[in-house]
């Protein structure tokens, strides 16, 4: 769909958040529509085909999970950003596993939310993934399966490479442990989250120059990991 500005659907049961968000999104150069609950959200999604959905989780009638499920049934690409609440981490992880792409935690800052929105729109607007991913100080050649850090080659095991590839192609976005197991181990039943942690641990030892300030692989509590570096040349 060609639009002058990307269209964003905001689903939240609180009128003041809806109002503030639609206003601020418009000021930031997006078109915004809003819905007061999940049912209205699903209807608006089908009617308007937005480029991105921002949804609360706890709502009367259909909740945020229902919205995510409806979006994912309709298409695989429209990004969904979840407004989550501290202390309800399980809901957040469930939302991500259902197909949400990212989350912010209330009370979030507008800057934070807009940054997540930009990352998601850039990702969904991008064409095929490039063969070489470039980050500050790090180059990942997907075709040759080679990793170069500050000019020297880093030797990774096939599993470590597969994890790095998954995280780096999702740079800036959270990747859940379940998603890693599904992608890297093809959901092999014996794979546990511990297995993932061992491989990520050794990946970190090979890649991170300063363990106190990770540059590439951040841990998202309860969720999984997030590739921290921004891709270069965009």
């Amino acid at each position: 769909m060609t639009r002058a500005n990307p269209l964003i659907l905001v689903v939240d049961d609180d009128p003041s958040i809806r109002q503030t968000l639609t206003r601020e999104l418009s000021l930031a150069g997006y078109d915004a529509v809003s819905a007061a609950d999940g049912l209205e959200g699903k209807a608006l999604f089908e009617a308007r085909q937005p480029d991105l959905v921002i949804t609360d989780l706890a709502m009367p009638r259909a909740d945020g999970h229902a919205v995510i499920a409806a979006v994912r049934r309709a298409d695989a690409t429209t990004p969904v950003v979840v407004l989550s609440v501290r202390g309800e981490e399980e809901d957040k992880v469930r939302a991500l596993d259902l197909g949400a792409d990212d989350y912010v935690t209330k009370p979030f800052s507008l800057r934070e939310l807009l940054a997540r929105v930009r990352t998601q729109l850039r990702r969904s607007g991008a064409g095929a993934a490039p063969e070489v991913l470039r980050f500050p100080g790090l180059e990942i050649d997907l075709a040759r399966r080679a990793v170069t850090q500050d000019g020297r080659e880093v030797r990774l095991t096939p599993t470590e490479f597969a994890i790095l590839e998954l995280l780096a192609t999702h740079a800036g976005r959270p990747v859940t442990l379940r998603q890693i197991i599904a992608a890297v181990w093809k959901g092999a039943p014996a794979t546990t989250t511990d297995t993932v942690r061992v491989h990520v641990g050794s990946l970190r030892r090979k890649l991170e120059p300063d363990p106190g300030n990770p540059r590439y692989i951040g841990t998202e509590p309860w969720v999984g990991y997030r590739f921290l570096a921004e891709p270069e040349g965009e």
């Binding site: 209330k106 009370p107 800052s109 297995t195 942690r197 363990p211 509590p221």
Partner: protein, 496 residues
């Protein structure tokens, strides 16, 4: 009803008196019919077997001997004497004696076994009926008393008492039936220790043992029931006691679960209602900041407002976390957490306060992952970092550092330190941490002005994670807040 009348005790003399009668009858009939010797021998044999079956082995043996004498006297020539003319008749007589003795022995044994089987069957019936009677009553007040009464009736006791638990003194009788009885303390403790039936002073002490656990002792008077009935009856009653205890526990758990559900939904509602306006406030402040970008005075006020909004949000987070922990609706959910991730998240949460401040993060490369609830530990760390930032002059660096408690391969814990260059510890704050837990103080005493509330909450949250918080004086001035936390279990290395 008398359930356990031992079979065969009545009329023990009857078979003995029947011996002469039976033999006289056979002799008379034989003489009257003029039966020959082999025929009369078989009839004597039948009579002996009958007597043995009735009266047992001794009656049978006596009858055999008497029958042999009658046989000889009345039927073997020369009749009327106990002498025998023909050698063949000697053989017949001795054969008769051997056959009748052996046969009466066999018959008596068979009889005894049948009696034994009968007795066992009766015992099983009693226990079966008892189990029905016991498990038909349930979940009402007084059920244990009724179960005890039914058990006592089934074992034929005229009075008795039930003592619950494995420690109750003789005075603590849960239920009593019939005449008052006085259990002996020594017999009770002997029963409890040996878990065996004890008989003492006319009373029987039956342990109520199920699966290795002793649920009480049943004391009975006047029972003639054997051990083989009393012990299983005790176990059955033990099962009832255990079942009642489990039912009571289940009811209690259900009540707790319901109140937990209520607390959870209440906390969710409070959390939602507090965070939603905070979110709007934050969004509006940012919006104003953009609109008033060219007015330095207004920007400064708005920055102050943001800081306060963040602080309010943190305190609400703190209080909700504490409330969740105290209400038991959330337990710490530990997972492996690298200290560096905590440091990054803590700095992000305090972006405004730490704006432009030097913060040095130092993680020992040998430092293992923590085994902790990331959210709660992050809150503690943020509170400590916030205090440090407030105490330290803006140009002096704050350090956050992590390392293993011992340098060996299996360290038992990890320390995390927040080091500031502030004025050092006010005595009141240290006292606050050392004082025993008191919610009224958490809610804010005079010390809270100096960051005491944040500290106290940090301490509570860390302790709920199996960690500890200590405040130390820093060499060269300032304070070190030191958290110690457990280490994540090392996952097994898997090579792909």
């Amino acid at each position: 009803m008398s359930l356990l009348d031992p079979i065969g005790r009545r009329g023990r003399l009857a078979p003995w008196t029947a011996i002469p009668l039976a033999l006289a009858l056979v002799t008379f009939l034989g003489r009257w019919a003029g039966a020959n010797a082999p025929t009369i021998g078989s009839i004597y044999l039948v009579a002996v077997l009958g007597l043995a079956a009735w009266g047992g082995w001794a009656v049978g043996a006596t009858a055999s001997l008497a029958a042999m004498l009658c046989f000889n006297y009345f039927f073997l020539p020369p009749t009327g004497t106990l002498t025998i003319a023909e050698p063949a008749n000697w053989v017949a007589l001795i054969s008769f004696l051997i056959a009748s003795t052996f046969a009466s022995r066999l018959v008596a044994t068979a009889r005894r076994e049948a009696e034994e089987a009968q007795r066992r069957r009766r015992e099983v019936e009693i226990l079966y009926e008892l189990s029905f009677a016991l498990f038909a009553v349930s979940q009402r007040p007084g059920v244990l008393g009724e179960a005890a009464a039914r058990t006592l009736r089934a074992i034929g006791a005229d009075s008795g008492a039930l003592l619950l638990g494995d420690t109750g003194a003789p005075g603590e009788i849960a239920s009593a039936v019939g005449e008052r009885i006085e259990p002996e303390e020594t017999a009770l403790s002997e029963t409890r220790e040996s878990r065996r039936l004890v008989e003492r002073g006319g009373l029987v002490y039956v342990p109520l043992e199920v699966g290795g656990a002793l649920h009480g002792v049943l004391v009975a008077r006047g029972t003639v029931a054997p051990r083989t009935v009393l012990e299983p009856a005790g176990r059955l009653l033990g099962l009832v006691v255990e079942r009642e205890r489990l039912l009571a526990e289940a009811a209690h758990l259900e009540a707790v679960r319901e109140s937990d559900t209520l607390k959870t939904s209440l906390l969710r509602a409070v959390s939602h209602d507090l965070r939603t306006p905070l979110t709007t406030m934050r969004l509006e402040i940012e919006s104003l900041e953009r609109h008033l970008a060219d007015q330095p005075q207004a920007r400064a006020s708005l920055h102050g407002l943001s800081l306060e909004q963040e602080r309010l949000a943190r305190r609400i987070d703190n209080l909700l976390s504490l409330a969740r922990l105290e209400a038991g609706v959330a337990r710490p959910h530990p997972e492996p957490v690298p200290p560096s991730s905590l440091f990054r998240a803590a700095r992000e949460s305090l972006a405004l306060i730490l704006d432009g401040r030097p913060v040095e993060a130092l993680v020992d490369p040998r430092c293992p992952d923590l085994w902790t609830d990331p959210s709660l530990t992050l809150e503690s760390l943020v509170n400590l970092l916030e205090n440090a930032a407030r105490a330290t002059p803006p140009d002096r660096p704050i350090e956050i550092a992590a390392g293993p408690l011992s340098t060996g391969p299996d360290t038992e814990g990890v320390w995390i330190e927040v080091r500031d260059r502030g004025p050092g510890l006010p005595a009141g704050v240290r006292r606050l941490l050392e004082s025993p837990r008191d919610p009224r103080r958490t809610a804010g005493s005079g010390d809270s002005a100096s960051g005491g509330l944040g500290l106290r909450i940090a301490q509570e949250l860390v302790q709920s994670n199996g960690g500890a918080l200590a405040l130390l004086d820093r060499a060269g001035g300032g304070t070190i807040a030191r958290l110690t936390l457990p280490v994540a279990p090392e996952p097994e290395e898997i090579e792909s």
